[in-house]
């Protein structure tokens, strides 16, 4: 009976979605605000990557909200994981190739991660993407050597300071008499590495926070599994 109602609901929802989709005009999005941003963004924010100018400039507070959601999810997971100690997980050491491959990839991944973060205002990429790569760099050795531990204190310090510096940059603009999160120091340097004012700094904060957050969460998961 329950399955039947579920099926009916799913079918109805699917039918509704199809009916809606048939009425939509695909391929011709209304570029009302989008078009305006496209034409004004490079002058207003100094970033050649339009996505960045939207993510950190026009909708900066959304990004702050997204960061907070990630933080809340990690904190909530920590609350739940901190109490439960499953005994699962047999600690098999990784093989030679995995161990040394992991160690060799670590600096490469770090370089790529930071490259993507620092060029977020110029090319596709940015803090979120680069941060995930940073976290992967830390997690690879952890997979290869299940016994290894990450320094949790260090990670949470990086994470906390990165998150708060995002807000501090925003508040700095406020104390200068401008609006909260207003991009400062916009100069006539469009397209150079040092350009776009505070946006690269914001992206660095985002990248460090996301990286530390994910690395901490993953190692937390790994540890919960290995604890007896």
């Amino acid at each position: 009976m329950r399955n039947l109602t579920g099926l009916l609901f799913a079918g109805g929802l699917g039918f509704m979605l199809l009916a809606i989709a048939s009425g939509l005009d695909f391929g011709a999005p209304p570029m009302l605000v989008g078009g305006a941003i496209q034409s004004a963004a490079p002058q207003e924010t100094g970033a050649t990557n339009l996505v960045t100018s939207v993510v950190l400039g026009y909708r900066g507070i959304d990004t702050l909200g997204e960061l907070s959601i990630l933080f809340a999810a990690a904190a909530a997971a920590g609350l739940v994981l901190g109490r439960r100690h499953t005994t699962a997980g047999t600690l098999t050491e990784g093989g030679f190739v995995l161990k040394h491959g992991g160690a060799m990839l670590f600096p490469l991944l770090m370089t790529i991660g930071f490259y993507i973060i620092f060029h977020g205002h110029l090319t596709p990429g940015g803090g979120f993407q680069g941060g995930v790569i940073l976290a992967a760099a830390f997690f690879l050795p952890l997979l290869a050597r299940p016994g290894a531990r990450l320094h949790h204190g260090m990670l949470s310090v990086i994470e906390g300071f990165a998150g708060s510096s995002f807000i501090l940059i925003g508040l700095a603009a406020l104390s200068e008499g401008e609006a909260f999160l207003q991009p400062m120091l916009v100069q006539d340097t469009l397209g150079q590495l040092v350009s776009a004012g505070t946006l690269p700094l914001l992206y660095l904060a985002v990248g460090l926070k996301v990286g530390a957050e994910l690395a901490g969460l993953l190692s937390h998961l790994a540890q919960t599994e290995s604890e007896v």
Binding site: M16, I20, G23, L24, D25, P29, P30, M31, L32, V33, G34, A36, I37, A40, E44, G57, Y58, R59, G60, I61, D62, L64, G65, E66, S68, I69, F71, A72, A73, A75, A76, G78, L79, V80, G82, R83, G153, S156, V157, E159, G160, F161, G163, S164, I167, L168, G170, L171, A173, L174, E178, A179, F180, L181, Q182, P183
Partner: protein
């Protein structure tokens, strides 16, 4: 001065990020960060209210004028809600010190920040971001009570809430695909031409159901009883008292600004009526105090949805009166339930154990039922007169259900009151009857005092709410304030 209004939204986030670091070095310093930030937030918002700056005004974040950037819209309704968020955050602050303190307090700060954002934001997608943040922070806070029942209810809530979020996002995507903007004021300008059709109505319905998960709307409220029965009372109080009302605020803004179709209102009326019937009947049958309160809260929110279906200033006045009344009462009742959790039968004779708690319960019950001269009477009276003035038969059904629900409400609340004041069961010594802890009782008394104060000053409170409702019902004012007002770097 008005620039500072962003601080109550941002500082709790700042505190939440830093709290784990500070707690690592000194718990005694860290324990003061949260309350200090919330107190400062109260002061800023209170100061804004007192300073008599012309309301409403709009604040562009990042200095990008709406609709390009995101703006905060501050009218007296938003200010009132934001102040209530900070104040209740302070009252329901999780003081308990143990090894999870940092995480719990950080989540509470995030919840307060997100709720403030819900009250102030003037951008549809920004509202969605804060709505998600509220959801995620709530999952953690509910699970923090640590019992396996709490985990189970969190999972249920998580799934339902996830479905709601997807539906909301679908609605927002539909709106964006039709208009190309997300700013509420800009949408309000475009809506009569571009959203006054079937697609617009679908978008409203998906958002209504999606946001309705938090507002305890009829078919998507099954999480509420379990969550409120298993989470810490302070969390339940904050959720039932405030977060549900913030979800209502989103729907209210959408109705006033964007969706004027009669069908939208009718759907809400029907769902509200069903919510009242199911909620009150379930509360009548409930055997557990907190479940009873949860079901009664579903019924109460159903009543608010009925009121919301009258899209005029009068209807809005009824919405606000019911909302703030329920906010006071339910928060207080959940604080009482802090010590009174569990089966109703166990409370036999509890009035002798804690006379003050029983007296406060009776006070809240009387106001909830609508006994003059308590504020509950005026709130319900406003709704009844508004409903009776409508011509459509659906509103009269709403009126009938509303009156019947009041009878049921009286039945189950008085049944509990009779138990409280009845003789204790013979085999239980009086010391074993549960009683609310001191701090919870003190908090509940504060809400009781607030209720009595509102009863004494009912005329100014009514005028104030009427003024707030008038401002909130004025869509043109919203559009002009945001789009013509303080753009640029203000």
């Amino acid at each position: 001065m008005s620039d500072l209004i962003v601080l109550p939204l941002v500082l709790p986030l700042f505190g939440a990020f830093l709290l784990p670091i500070v707690m690592r070095t000194s718990i005694s310093i860290g324990a003061w960060i949260g309350p200090a930030i919330l107190a400062y937030g109260c002061w800023i918002l209170g100061d804004q209210w007192m300073s008599g700056t012309a309301l409403p005004f709009s604040l562009a974040i990042g200095g990008f004028a709406p609709p390009m950037g995101i703006n905060l819209y501050i009218d007296s309704l938003a200010l009132l809600f934001a102040f209530a968020v900070q104040l209740l955050g302070l009252l329901f602050w999780p003081f308990k010190i143990d090894q999870e303190t940092a995480r719990r307090q950080a989540l509470m700060l995030l919840l307060v920040a997100a709720s403030t954002g819900l009250a102030l934001s003037g951008d549809l997608f920004n509202l969605y971001v804060f709505y998600e943040l509220v959801a995620v922070a709530t999952f953690g806070l509910i699970a923090a009570s640590g019992s396996s029942a709490a985990y189970a209810s969190t999972i249920r809530y998580l799934i339902l809430s996830g479905i709601g979020s997807v539906l909301t996002l679908l609605g927002i995507a539909l709106i964006y695909s039709q208009t190309g903007t997300l700013n509420l004021a800009h949408l309000a300008q475009l809506a009569p031409e571009q959203l006054n059709n079937k697609l617009g109505l679908t978008a409203f319905l998906t958002i209504l159901i999606g946001v309705g998960v938090k507002a305890e709307l009829f078919p998507v409220n099954t999480w509420a009883p379990e969550v409120y029965a298993t989470a810490a009372s302070r969390v339940s109080a904050f959720l039932a008292g405030l977060v549900s009302k913030l979800a209502l605020l989103i729907i209210l803004r959408l109705l006033v600004l964007i969706f004027h179709q009669p069908e939208a209102v009718q759907v809400m009326l029907v769902l509200g009526i069903l919510g009242v019937i199911t909620g009150e009947l379930a509360a009548w049958r409930a055997k557990d105090v907190r479940r009873m309160l949860a079901f009664s809260s579903i019924g109460q929110l159903g009543m608010i949805f009925i009121a919301l279906a009258i899209p005029e200033q009068g209807g809005l006045l009824a919405v606000l009166a019911l909302t703030f009344h329920h906010l006071l009462i339910k928060s207080g009742l959940f604080m009482l339930a802090d010590g009174w959790g569990g089966a109703i039968e166990k409370l036999r004779g509890a009035a002798k154990r804690s006379p003050l708690a029983a007296a406060i319960f009776v006070l809240f019950s009387l106001s909830l039922i609508g006994m003059p001269p308590l504020p509950g009477f005026w709130a319900k009276f406003t709704l009844i007169t508004q409903l009776a003035a409508q011509t459509s038969p659906l509103y009269l059904i709403g009126l009938t259900v509303f009156l019947l629900a009041t009878v049921i409400e009286a039945a189950y609340l008085f049944r509990l009151a009779a138990l409280l004041y009845g003789p204790a069961a013979e085999d239980t010594p009086i010391d074993t009857i549960p009683k609310p802890a001191g701090l919870s009782l003190a908090t509940a008394s504060l809400f009781g005092i607030g209720l009595l104060a509102a009863a004494l000053f009912i005329a100014p409170v009514g005028d104030l709410l009427n003024h707030v409702a008038g401002q909130a019902a004025n869509a043109d004012l919203y559009i002009n304030t945001v789009l013509a007002g303080t753009g640029g770097s203000q």
